[in-house]
Symmetry: C2
Subunit: 321 residues, 2 copies
């Protein structure tokens, strides 16, 4: 197992990962969608300036344990952060590529129950259905706002399941969009698998459950953030996330990630308080961002996206565009 | 790690599993719901006979790798089989307890797209929404039929996530319902984890991704089917499933499961053809059940549930009730 060799260079680890990955389906269709999205949004402009584009990644990635996948390792992530942030990015004038885990939270739907169709609607009579009174406004807003963003060409939604799909799609997005230079932002809120089983090492069929103990050996997923910054889209403004359950190590780990992967900002969040407060770590500052509790229905993503949008604007200005 | 001792008796392994499991939330509320469900459905009767009740389990279970769960091992299962079967059991006159993985397919919704709210509705004008023409009938049927089954007290839906929740809930359902004797059926379509990390062996915090290799050691989940048959609900009619990706070993494995766990029937299905054909294995027969392709929109679950319902009726008759 070559990929198991920890002494390999990052480039060799990345090559081993992509070589081992099953090829992405529909690459051509995906490239076409991305090209149309760039064309539409780089020609349209808000207040005379070119429209900024952000790629929001959202939800967990899976690492299959079998080629004909029955079992996989998954990361917990509802996708709430990415879905909510997408709404605020759209409000802030961005066009958004929403790279999301299939089945995770969708923009404009976060105040709805788990199963909105069955829980928000009821029969009106034998022939018709109606929205339940309690969800009337939320359902209408979700459908109208979502539809406006998608039909208006401001929101492009791209689903993934596995870590293989996620990283291949992220690379394709970055290399397709690097022409946007500093106007492009990456907001990497997806919970990406740290470990995977190289495709060629996987058993083809379902693992048999005969033995009393199972030993699963996984290889670290190469940290692609460095490549995103260095090769894929070197001028893009990059924001990554650090989630920990242990607040004692959180800020240190966020600082390390900032330096190691040359991010422009790292959003540090702790599992239990992540909807109330995050800390934005940059090379110069640690800024605590809190949800404004005085306004009902407000989210921590509201001030967070405002802050990042400001920083991104300053970054574009500094880049001389 | 006691549970790792493969020479333990099944009872000891089961005790180790339940001792290690985090206690089920809302047990009292769950018991109350089950009691009401039994009361309502054992007093009502179809054609003079007591109503039959089936517990359909559906979707995959997760095995957490960390106590404050970020990572877990999951089993692929959309829950399509369980959701579809539930509809046919209701049609056949059963009351159904639907024990399902949160987020998996729901009864009456299988012909709808992944994200029905956003894909089936559109703005009618600035103030109103409407169902898209293409989904009009499917959406209406889903809401009306689902509502009728739930409000009519014939469908009780109980969600789970982890293998710990699933097995504790299954035990509670079985012991609460054993009073129904042979009128009770278990239709165990859930894809249950074969391996787990005992709760007490789990790290509390998120596994750190420092090292290049990760070695995950898992213990086999004790096979509770034997206990279901022997202790939890000895008179119930029990149907389990065997899914394999390798058709060469499928029927043998189904036969072994039938004998080992004393099931009344095992439904053998192969991953790629599972929506077209299954084989019902009993001690006397192997019956191939196929989807009737001449009728559009027909499912293999239609003849499957008809067959099982007949066998269950014969079983009740043989039991002298």
């Amino acid at each position: 197992m070559d990929a198991a060799n920890g002494s390999q260079t990052l480039e060799a680890q990345v090559k081993a990962f992509f070589d081992s990955a099953p090829p992405l389906q529909n690459t051509q269709q995906l490239t076409q969608k991305l090209d149309q999205f760039i064309q539409r949004n780089s020609s349209s402009s808000a207040n005379g300036e070119p429209r900024r584009i952000v790629c929001v990644t959202s939800g967990g990635t899976t690492a299959p344990l079998e080629q004909r996948c029955v079992r996989y390792i998954d990361n917990f992530s509802s996708g709430h952060r990415g879905a909510t942030s997408t709404e605020y990015f759209l409000k802030a004038g961005y066009a958004v590529i929403f790279l999301y885990r299939r089945g995770s939270f969708q923009p404009f739907c976060r105040s709805l129950p788990d199963d909105p169709l069955l829980e928000c609607f009821e029969p009106a009579d034998e022939l018709n259905i109606q929205v339940c009174e309690a969800y009337s406004e939320a359902v209408k807003t979700a459908i109208v706002d979502h539809h406006a963003a998608v039909k208006g060409g401001l929101l492009l939604k791209l689903p993934y399941n596995t870590i293989f799909e996620y990283l291949q799609m992220l690379q394709l997005i970055a290399t397709s969009m690097r022409c946007l230079g500093p106007c492009l932002m990456f907001y990497l809120a997806a919970a990406v698998s740290d470990y995977y089983v190289p495709w060629k090492d996987m058993v083809e069929h379902k693992i048999q459950s005969g033995s009393h103990l199972l030993d699963v050996q996984l290889v670290q997923v190469p940290k692609m953030l460095s490549l995103l910054r260095k090769d894929w889209a070197p001028l893009a403004f990059c924001v990554s996330f650090k989630l920990e359950t242990d607040s004692n190590i959180l800020l240190n780990k966020a600082g390390t990630a900032l330096e190691k992967y040359k991010m422009h900002a790292v959003v540090a969040n702790e599992l239990t308080t992540r909807k109330e407060q995050v800390v934005v770590v940059t090379s110069a500052e640690k800024i605590i961002v809190q949800r404004d509790k005085s306004i009902s229905g407000n989210d921590v993503e509201n001030p967070l996206i405002n802050l990042l949008s400001e920083r991104h604007a300053a970054y574009i200005k500094d880049s001389g565009r």
